[in-house]
Symmetry: C2
Subunit: 335 residues, 2 copies
């Protein structure tokens, strides 16, 4: 069985920087035509100078002319219209982090509501710049996303022309509000379509499956699968592939993030085929995002075939999901 | 500030075997007068010969004449009255594990209800041998203990004269049924009085706080604190101190268990003092258990003082809770 995907896009990707970037960039750039690049470096990307420089480093490491990194700025409440107007041609969106909620997010926003963020969100709405949101409160780990739903709703109501992307949603509650507001969209990762908290902490503890937001319940996973497999027009694939050196994953205090970029398309093909929805994969991994973002990626064809692939135990110093295991689909060609 | 505890007992303890036993046994025997020793070795302790031999190894490693290991058998459905009558003088109770629920429990019981276990539970009831239960189903990790409540209730109703100890309870639901059945009792660990899932997986992932049952919500922790601090007469301290080599904790698949034995009394003193309940600690760590088990431990006095103690980073190859951190109370003498 074969499958061709046209210009797959990863709408939520962490490439990091420095040596790690040299490992991660080619693993995405060879299989994807474009990706939304998250700005939570140290320090975070908050100026155009940083952004342009980071994009240059990504392109150098990516070594693929048919890959475009769609850059993002780290949301700051002091971005004004003039700055954003100047930034717009260089960015795919702006990423809002609640302060301290995940890797390198200590400079994030403490109070998230339409009044507190009015100036910047009004400008973004007027300029049609998408707002990408890590939607978690600082509450109990299993409730953080559910508690954030009210914040999504308040923002969606008060900025009806602002495109709000609920990033890496993990709960049925988030799925449920998708249809209630025209301007709410979502990315869904690969791993949240596959695992629940049971896989992370139900048997032995699996640090390589530990991520933020943490994997939830089976009911939540089913709700995510439902909209992903049907390629609901408001959902997009975003891997949230988040590499950490092995030493930071298998340690006393394990960093959050699952590394899926190099195996995402193959495992998605396996998942969609298993559920009889293979013909929806193109929309989930590219077409929906093109429509939502109004963006046309470089023309790239990725050819997959249903034949076994043994996932490497590591890529550089990073342990991927399914490390050392056999998956059912392979990428056989890209052009 | 000073405190003397008379004959503290740890009513749920894993000492393991072999080299690990040589590390763990003295760390409990020097500070406790007695402890209920869990039988989940490989293979589990199911015969008196194994039990007597294991007790001998414990006593040799413990090197403390004022410490008595109260041995337990690993529940098997084929134990009959004759066997149990013979076993009774050698055991403190029998530990029932649902099959596969925790470390070395694959030989546990698949179906737990009064009909399936009738022969053995009737004999235990007649002989007044306590039933110690790891009360978790194989369900979703956060729901396992809650789902087991109905099983506790069914057993308690059908064997009203059987002492049933709900081991290491972690939820408000378990606390709530304590008062509904005369024959239900509970042990509570130190760590479940201190942590929730947020501490395990809310920030970075903390393998040394990963345990079974997994730490639950703040509401659950408050319910446990409520009965522990008030020294509710049906609850007893049981550390569930569960050592694993560091290599099995900081790894791809981290084993479940928190190692608290050598710091438990000090941290309990700190916790009870903080809440103004220091005068209840004696009941929680000894008197309640003496009454529930009808057992008088060796006379041992443990003298604590409120002065800082830096917890070692490791004991042998085992990383304790609060490794390298300062706690507020110290053990200053034992006699």
């Amino acid at each position: 069985m074969q499958l061709t995907i046209n210009s797959p896009m990863d709408m939520h990707l962490h490439l990091r920087d420095g040596d790690m970037l040299k490992t991660t960039a080619p693993l995405s750039s060879h299989y994807f035509a474009a990706a939304i690049i998250m700005p939570n470096l140290t320090p975070p990307i908050t100026s155009l100078k940083q952004l342009v420089s980071y994009k240059k480093r990504i392109l150098e490491a990516a070594k693929d002319e048919l890959f475009e990194p769609l850059m993002t700025l780290f949301f700051k409440n002091d971005y004004d219209y003039a700055f954003l107007e100047k930034a717009k041609p260089s960015i795919g969106g702006i990423k809002l982090y609640p302060a301290g909620i995940t890797t390198n997010s200590s400079a994030g926003v403490a109070t998230i509501d339409s009044q507190s963020l009015k100036k910047t969100l009004t400008a973004m709405s007027d300029l049609d710049i998408p707002l990408l949101v890590h939607g978690e409160t600082n509450g109990f780990v299993m409730d953080r996303e559910r508690e954030f739903v009210a914040i999504y709703e308040e923002l969606a109501q008060n900025f009806p022309n602002l495109k709000i992307i609920m990033e890496h949603i993990t709960t049925k509650d988030s799925v449920d509000i998708l249809n209630r507001y025209d301007n709410l969209y979502a990315t869904i990762t690969l791993h949240h379509l596959l695992i629940t908290l049971d896989d992370v902490a139900g048997g032995k503890l699996r640090p390589h499956l530990f991520c933020k937001p943490i994997a939830k319940t089976n009911k939540d996973k089913e709700a995510l699968l439902n909209v992903a497999l049907s390629a609901h027009p408001k959902v997009m694939f975003g891997s949230d592939s988040a590499p950490h050196p092995r030493s930071e994953k298998e340690a006393c205090g394990c960093a959050a993030g699952v590394f899926t970029a190099p195996i995402a398309l193959q495992v998605l093909a396996q998942l969609f085929e298993k559920h009889g929805n293979l013909n929806n994969l193109q929309s989930f991994v590219s077409d929906n995002a093109q429509l939502i973002y109004g963006y046309t990626p470089p023309p790239k064809k990725v050819f997959l075939e249903k034949k076994p692939f043994i996932v490497p135990k590591t890529y550089g110093d990073v342990v991927p999901m399914y490390a050392g295991q056999k998956i059912e689909w392979s990428i056989v060609d890209v052009n």
